[in-house]
Structures are given as structure tokens and as C-alpha cells.
């Protein structure tokens, strides 16, 4: 019983992180129709911000606080310099952000070397949860990601900004006709999505090995989550992330990690094929 509970917590860990990454990607895509191929790199950079904070003595936990802000600012920069020049052409946006991802990866290689780095665990030890002993830091990760997800939902469903954003997602032209400054919203939304990725990377840093190539490992599952879950609303990608995360963990545990990717992918493309608008959404999306 305890093993099951622990396994459940492990799965939740992964799913929550995936949700965070997918949400950032989905928000940007839903609002701006922009596919950010560098999203994984934003996540990676979030982790490296924590590394820098650790190396300069600032500490890991402050680093985790700082990372989403730093990456959000980076997102603003990227949006202004790059995205706003290409966002009307979907294919070129993919290529441009891909070029950006190459650039970001290489900058990290130049700055930190191609190898991997480790960040110490700021909350070592076990915590007691309902009679189960579970790594304290992993509980912390879950709390942080849950908080971030809820905060994002609050932003989108309880604030005027969120109301405007949802309108732009629903019908960009009409939203503009109502006086909503869509370009300003684009900027903030991109920053927000990037910040979420940065947070995901930052909070994961102490338990993974940071290396410049780690972005891709999350980009593909995040995309698959969005495609499976659909883009009908801000919530549907989370359904996709759950499916992807659950499948990945189940297969990893019962078969092997090697098979996991393949199975996830196969399940994903079958679902996408038969539910082109997503399993959770009813609105068709044109890519």
C-alpha cells in the first residue's frame, strides 16, 4: 500500500512538472498561434539560473524564486526582438524559435561547458506524509507546481487581464475590435509562458542533472500533451499532460524506460489521429 502511494506521488511529480511546461506552451500557442520551439530551452535556462545562484552563493531556494522572473524577462526580450517579426507566419515562427533554441543551447555550452552540472538539494531528508516517508524536496516540487498552476488559473479566470487574454484566444480580431491591445497582451502572455517554463526547470534542478540538451526531453512530451489534450481552453492541455505523464510512468515501471517513449508516442499519435481537436476540447484548432 505504501509502495502504491509512493508510486502515485512519483507519478504526480512528473505529471505536475509536465503540466507546468505544457501550460506555458499552450498559453502562448492559444493566444498568439506561436509554436515556441525554444520552450524547452527556457526550461533548461531556468535550471541554470538556479545553478548560477548556487555558484554565486545566493542559494538554491532564492534561485528558484528568481528563475521564473529572469526567464519571463528573457521571454519579453525574445518576443520583442524575434517573435513579433514572425508571428504571422507559423512555419517561420517554428524555424525562428528553433534557431533561437540552437543559439541558447550553444550559449550555455560556451558559458558552462557541454557537460552536466548538479545543484544540491536544499531540502534533503524525508518528510512524513500520511504515514509514508517521502523525499521532502519532491513534496516541495509538488507544492510549488500546484501553486503555480493555481496562480495561472487565477490569473486567467479571475482577473481582467485574464478575461482579455481569454477573449483574444477565443477571437483575436473581435477582441481587437473591442479595444483590447492584442500586441501588449502577446508580450505579457509570452513572458508568462516563458516564466512558467523557467519555474519548471528551476524547481527540477536539484533532482536532475542539468545539461544544455535537456530541453528537448521535455519539449516533445509537452507538445504531445497539448496535441492530445486539445487547445479548447487553458485547462485542456493539462488533461493531455496527465495522459502522457501517466502512460510514461506506467510503461517505465512495468516495461522499461526505453519502451516508455515509444509507447507514449504511439498512444499519442493514435489519440491525435482520432481526436484531432483533442480528447478534452470540442473546438477545432487550425495549425
Amino acid at each position: 500500500m505504501h509502495d502504491l502511494f509512493a508510486a502515485l506521488l512519483d507519478v504526480s511529480n512528473y505529471v505536475l512538472i509536465l503540466m507546468l511546461v505544457s501550460l506555458g506552451l499552450a498559453i502562448v500557442f492559444g493566444l498568439m498561434n506561436v509554436i515556441n520551439m525554444a520552450h524547452g530551452e527556457f526550461m533548461m535556462l531556468g535550471g541554470y539560473v538556479v545553478l548560477v545562484c548556487h555558484q554565486t552563493g545566493l542559494g538554491v531556494l532564492p534561485g528558484i524564486l528568481l528563475a521564473p522572473i529572469a526567464i519571463a524577462l528573457l521571454g519579453l526580450l525574445v518576443e520583442g526582438l524575434l517573435i513579433q517579426r514572425v508571428y504571422t507566419r507559423v512555419v517561420d515562427t517554428i524555424l525562428a524559435t528553433w534557431g533561437l533554441s540552437i543559439l541558447l543551447k550553444q550559449l550555455v555550452v560556451l558559458g558552462f561547458g557541454p557537460g552536466s552540472h548538479a545543484v544540491p538539494n536544499p531540502l534533503p531528508g524525508l518528510a512524513s506524509l500520511a504515514g509514508l516517508e517521502y523525499p521532502a524536496y519532491r513534496l516541495f516540487i509538488m507544492l510549488v507546481t500546484l501553486f503555480a498552476l493555481l496562480a495561472t488559473f487565477w490569473l486567467f479566470f479571475r482577473t481582467d487581464f485574464g478575461l482579455s487574454a481569454r477573449c483574444v484566444i477565443a477571437n483575436r480580431g473581435m477582441a481587437a475590435c473591442l479595444g483590447i491591445d492584442t500586441r501588449l497582451l502577446d508580450r505579457f502572455t509570452f513572458a508568462c509562458g516563458s516564466g512558467l517554463a523557467g519555474l519548471a526547470g528551476a524547481v527540477m534542478a536539484p533532482i536532475v542533472s542539468l545539461d544544455p540538451q535537456m530541453g528537448l526531453g521535455f519539449l516533445v512530451p509537452a507538445f504531445l500533451s497539448i496535441l492530445i489534450g486539445g487547445l479548447g481552453s487553458v485547462a485542456t492541455p493539462l488533461a493531455g499532460a496527465s495522459i502522457v505523464g501517466l502512460t510514461d510512468n506506467l510503461v517505465s515501471t512495468f516495461l522499461s524506460p526505453l519502451w516508455a517513449q515509444g509507447v507514449v508516442f504511439t498512444v499519442a499519435i493514435v489519440l491525435i489521429r482520432f481526436f484531432p481537436t483533442g480528447v478534452a476540447s470540442r473546438r477545432p484548432r487550425h495549425l
Binding site: N171, A176, C177, G179
Partner: protein
């Protein structure tokens, strides 16, 4: 009526892709004036309105609001300068409630409107939520219902309410009475007449059917192949029904 011009188009060419829909469109509108734009399908009525709102970039010509050229302005700036657009198909936010649909429209209206043009320095009279509930009685009690669940006529009125809440100086309505039951059409026309007169709102209605427009607008403009072919006061058109028949082939 002053001889100030609220909206003026001169030699506007606009279209989609390589095709040109508007071919030298020229039109002026005075503050508070009501004009009906008539024309067959494909004459360019919708393209005209989309061009004015900045949803479609124009290929040539000028569009001026209060004398200032707005052809390069982003849509939201044009909207904030006092233009409200009710497109064909209404385009409500179906997943949002009635109240939210109205609120989001009010958001931009209450921001310090960066109106570069003085607009006679007039304070746009308040058309806040309360006034809207008064105008459209049924909405108040159903304000939390999703817009997508309303009937055609109710959606039409919501779309109109949404346009009005933003204190517009000019209302662009694209075939507003299409697919709406006659009783609601009449009710809406009444409301339009009342509100536009009371708040000095100019009106541009695009319609295929002359009847619904003649009683409401003082002026009728007939479009064909992206140009104005007839521009007469409504009384003239009402007195000579053959005028329209010639062009519309009714």
C-alpha cells in the same frame, strides 16, 4: 448638423490576396449621421467595414477619423477612438457569460482613451452596465448565462449591447437583422433609434434589404463592385423606388 466630418474614405482599394474587393471607395460620414450601405453579396460591404476597423489593411487610399489618417492604426486603437463593430455572425465570446462579454468590452472603454483627436472635446455620455440593463431588460436576470446558449435574436442584442457599452461615436453594423425574428428586429431598430439619437452616435448599417434600413437612416449609399454607385437621402430613395430597382435588380 455641423460640417465636421467624422469618418472619411477616399479612393480606398482593399481586398484579400491578389483580388481587389474595394475599388476606389469614397465615402464621408458626419457625426451623428446615419447611413445605410446597400448592395448585393460580394459588393464589398463587409470588406468596407473591416477596412475601416483596420482588420484588413488597405492597398491604396485614405481612411480618416476626425481628419486624422488611421489606415495604419492597429485595430484596437481605431476601436478606442470611438468605433464599434458588430460583424456578420456577431462573433460573441460564446464561452463567456453575458456579463463577461459586456465587461470585457467595457474594459477598454474605461481606460484613459488615448484619443489623439479631440473629438470636439465632448465627453462621451455614459452607457454603463446599468444603462444596458435598462435598455435590454431581459439581460439583467440572465447575466450569468453563457452567451453561446442564447437565441439568435438575443445574441444580436447582446452584440449590440457590447458595442454600445464602449461609448462609441460610430457604430458599424454588418447585416444585423439577418436571421433574427421580425419582432426582435423591430425592437432592436427602436433601441438603435433611441440610443443613437440620444447619444449622438453615428451609424453605418450594411444590409441587402433596403426596407430595414430606410426607416432608420437618413441617407442611403448603394455599393456595387467595391464602389459607391448611388448616394442619396432616404426620402429621395423612398420616393423613387425605381432608383434602387435599377441597381439591385429587384
Amino acid at each position: 448638423m455641423t460640417d465636421r466630418v467624422l469618418l472619411s474614405l477616399r479612393g480606398v482599394f482593399a481586398g484579400y490576396g491578389s483580388g481587389m474587393v474595394l475599388q476606389g471607395m469614397s465615402l464621408t460620414l458626419a457625426p451623428g449621421e446615419r447611413v445605410g450601405i446597400l448592395g448585393r453579396n460580394g459588393a464589398g460591404k463587409t470588406t468596407l467595414m473591416r477596412s475601416i476597423m483596420g482588420l484588413l489593411p488597405i492597398k491604396a487610399g485614405t481612411i480618416c477619423i476626425d481628419g486624422e489618417s488611421v489606415a495604419a492604426w492597429p485595430t484596437h486603437a481605431i476601436a478606442r477612438s470611438g468605433l464599434a463593430y458588430l460583424p456578420q455572425g456577431r462573433e460573441l465570446f460564446a464561452a463567456l457569460s453575458i456579463e463577461d462579454n459586456l465587461r470585457v468590452a467595457g474594459l477598454a472603454a474605461h481606460t484613459p482613451v488615448a484619443r489623439r483627436v479631440g473629438g470636439e472635446g465632448s465627453v462621451r455620455s455614459g452607457l454603463n452596465l446599468e444603462a444596458i440593463w435598462d435598455l435590454f431588460g431581459w439581460m439583467r436576470s440572465r447575466r450569468t448565462e453563457r452567451a453561446g446558449q442564447l437565441s439568435g435574436g438575443q445574441q444580436q442584442q447582446l452584440a449590440l449591447a457590447r458595442a454600445l457599452i464602449a461609448h462609441p461615436r460610430l457604430l458599424l453594423l454588418d447585416e444585423p437583422f439577418e436571421g433574427v425574428q421580425p419582432s426582435i428586429v423591430e425592437e432592436t431598430r427602436q433601441i438603435l433609434r433611441e440610443v443613437c439619437t440620444k447619444h449622438q452616435i453615428a451609424l453605418m448599417i450594411a444590409e441587402q434589404d433596403a426596407e430595414s434600413v430606410l426607416g432608420l437612416c437618413g441617407r442611403v449609399v448603394l455599393m456595387e463592385r467595391g464602389m459607391v454607385v448611388l448616394d442619396r437621402p432616404s426620402e429621395t430613395v423612398q420616393a423613387n423606388p425605381t432608383l434602387l430597382e435599377e441597381f439591385l435588380g429587384i
